[in-house]
Amino acid sequence: MSMQALSSLKIVEWAEGVPGPYCGKLLADLGAEVTKVEMPGCGDRARKRGPFPDDIPHPERSGTFLYLNTNKLGVTLDVRSRTGAEVFKRLIEGADILIENHPPSDVARLGFSYENLKKVNPALVMTSITAFGQTGPYCDYSTCNLVSFHASGMAYINPSDGVDDIEQEPPLMGPANQGDLVAGLTGALTTMSAVFARRMTGLGQHVDLSQQEALVSMTRHQLGNYTVEQFPWLRAKEARRPGVSEVYRCSNGLVYLICNDERMWERWVEAMGNPEWAMTELFADRALRRENWDAGKAMVEEWTMERTVEEVVRLAEASRVPCKAINTVRESVHSELLADRGHFVDIHHGEAGNITYPGAPYKLSRTPWQVNRPAPLLGEHNEEVYCGRLGFTRQDLTVMRAQGVI
């Protein structure tokens, strides 16, 4: 196992669902030793969520869980029991980082506030990924991907297109777990910054990540335009998409095509064979085009409808106009591109068998992303961690198990 970028970091992940675990995954996949603490019995709630092979639910076969927990050590621990709390503190003593995503009040009640934990380990970086952060009037609100996504303004401006009467439709949550994953990603980022700060001060920090903020900052462009230009973001279609980037129907599917600056427009018109309509005053410049775009789009689509997705994409790319087919996951998994990049990796898991997983979206030339172990079985590393590292005896182990502590 070649040295990895984060090999020296020891992390305790007391988190479940998506945000915390994705944060932990990002660190683990680059070599950090992440010890995942799960509730005895049910474990991480992601274990309950599909997809499952053949749709037969099984705690060790949740696609979501398998993906989010690669490269981690897994232990079970009921931190609410007194023994559990003691064991937890011993884990913290030896850790560089604690990732947690529990309601601040719960954390405090259990005695794991940063103030307490830093007494145990002053160098500890504690990253708390919560719905609305550690402070503020909503800090104890409970949330899920849906609520956070909508609380960020993103659902409001989604979707951009493809709906006829947007105002009749409610604001729209992004697909899958976008909101949770962004929170986890931002958590990894802010965690690393605390790791650097610690290099200088030798002291840990409490990273307070609000999922709402993580998501809100994804709309920084809209926010800026509102705060600075008082440009109100309405859900009315016409009010929304500057430029003429659109979905176009082709004879056998949909493409997405962008031609929002002059040069692209010219190249695109040329690619379409300089149709007369395009030469008219209505489309002379960007501002005009936007005003008259309904007409414009109709014309373009008339043209694309006569052609296949492949043709349109080829023609567009030939004239350096950004354009791609609107793919399903299947096409993207089988795309020449991702195959060529070796993006998808097959991982063998004791319970789930061989499955193809998405890899990392980046390649580090010297310290590659790698899968050293699949997601842990529930409590798989209890013995390794509790006996091997914390020095408990196996008898302690059996007692703690029977007491439901692990």
Binding site: Q134, S152, L223, T227, E229, I355, L364
Partner: protein, 406 residues
């Protein structure tokens, strides 16, 4: 005052538009000295973006998009089309730790600034390359436009209302920003590795892979079960109710998610319809899930008579996940974000006082990081050429003459 994590780290930043600048945005706020390299020949595209707000044609230094993506950076202008310009860039790079770029193709190679060349300039250099489809593979020359990538990678096919058409993601530049944060994280990991080993490396990030990383459940449902998922709107694979409901007022919405029978009972009591809990159709999770349409009807009947905040407050009181669906403008007014100082006023030489969102970076319960206004084009030429490269007045004048510094 905290010491900033990346103090002492210098970044030579060739990034432009969205995906790149957001990477260095994070580095800058974390304290790195980010030197943005543009020129009047090739200013960052976002300098000419406009949202359709009050200033229709903003000057190069007045673009909001640029302002929210480039604060805390320094700007200098170098004409990279001239050999001498490339020389200057090399001099800056040899004084830097990280080089970042997100060109539509191997521009760096053409300039003789590929990773092998950079390594010669500085053995431990870290080069970050962000692109739509990766620096290797068949599309390595394709320009990166988020919506195109989303279409290609399958994100678009999953975004939308159930049964409806796929909707391009309304959050302009969504994938630019998620990719950027993955990029920033990878850079921090590489820096961590460099601190321990003195080794630099090349980071090659592909935005299309970022999409896959964010669609693991859909991807694995396909790789495990050969199933192609479709848009599910605001619905969840298990929770019901789980949706966004219309409230009093114009285009006001509240989201509600119920995950257990207990929460359901709490919900029914909170909305003053305890009898719903005994309704056969809704008595338990699966029944509710099966009868979501009727359920959503009923709930909307209730939300209709409340404002989004009333509804959210009422339900959160009862321990039910709920929150308003905020528009960007509502986000700006949100009292919670206000209390957490998520928006800050920044003096901008040409735009005056602008209120911008900061990054979701909080340490020990307070906002954290370096926040300075985005640089006007070439604003820090003096600093860069005189202080950093120790060039004499005449030399600088000479280079300006020759349009090398331009």
């Amino acid at each position: 005052m905290h010491e900033l994590p990346l103090e002492g780290i210098r970044v030579a930043d060739f990034c432009h538009v969205w995906a790149g600048p957001h990477v260095t945005q994070w580095l800058a706020v974390m304290g790195a000295e980010v030197i943005k390299i543009e020129s009047h020949l090739r200013p960052d595209l976002t300098r000419s973006f406009f949202a359709g707000g009050k200033t229709l044609m903003p000057g190069l230094n007045q673009s909001v998009d640029f302002a929210v993506l480039n604060y805390s950076k320094k700007g200098c202008t170098i004409n990279m089309t001239l050999p001498r310009g490339i020389e200057l860039a090399k001099e800056i790079i040899s004084l830097s730790d990280v080089v970042t770029e997100n060109f539509g193709g191997p521009v760096m190679d053409r300039w003789g600034l590929g990773y092998p060349d950079l390594k010669k300039l500085r053995g431990d250099i870290i080069l970050y390359s962000g692109s739509g489809f990766g620096r290797t593979g068949p599309y390595k020359e394709s320009p990166a436009y988020a919506p195109i990538i989303d279409a290609f990678a399958g994100l678009t096919s999953l975004n939308g209302y159930s049964g409806g058409e796929p909707c391009p993601f309304g959050v302009g530049g969504w994938t630019d920003l998620t990719a950027a944060q993955h990029g920033a994280f990878a850079i921090l990991a590489a820096l961590h590795h460099r601190y321990r080993t003195g080794e630099g490396q090349h980071i090659d990030l592909s935005m299309s892979e970022v999409d896959c990383a964010f669609l693991p459940d859909a991807v694995m449902d396909y790789t495990m079960n050969d199933r192609v998922q479709r848009p599910q709107g605001n619905r969840d694979i298990a929770m019901a109710p789980h949706g966004c409901y219309r409230c009093q007022g114009e285009d006001n919405w509240v989201t509600i998610a119920v995950s257990t029978d207990e929460e359901w009972k709490a919900f029914c009591n909170a909305v003053g319809n305890p009898e719903w809990a005994n309704d056969e159709r809704f008595r338990d999770g699966p029944s509710r899930w099966r009868n979501q349409d009727e359920l959503d009807q009923l709930i909307q009947g209730w939300t209709r008579n409340h404002t989004d905040w009333q509804a959210a407050g009422l339900l959160q009181e009862a321990g039910v996940m709920a929150g308003p669906s905020l528009s960007p403008q509502a986000v700006v007014q949100d009292r919670h974000l206000a209390e957490r100082e998520f928006f800050f006023d920044m003096e901008h030489p040409e735009m005056g006082t602008v209120r911008l969102p900061r990054l979701p970076l909080n340490m020990n319960h307070s906002p954290f990081g370096k926040y300075e206004h985005a640089p006007s084009i070439g604003e820090h030429n003096d600093y860069v050429f005189r202080e950093l490269l120790k060039m004499a007045e005449e030399e600088i004048a000479q280079l300006q003459e020759e349009q090398v510094i331009f």
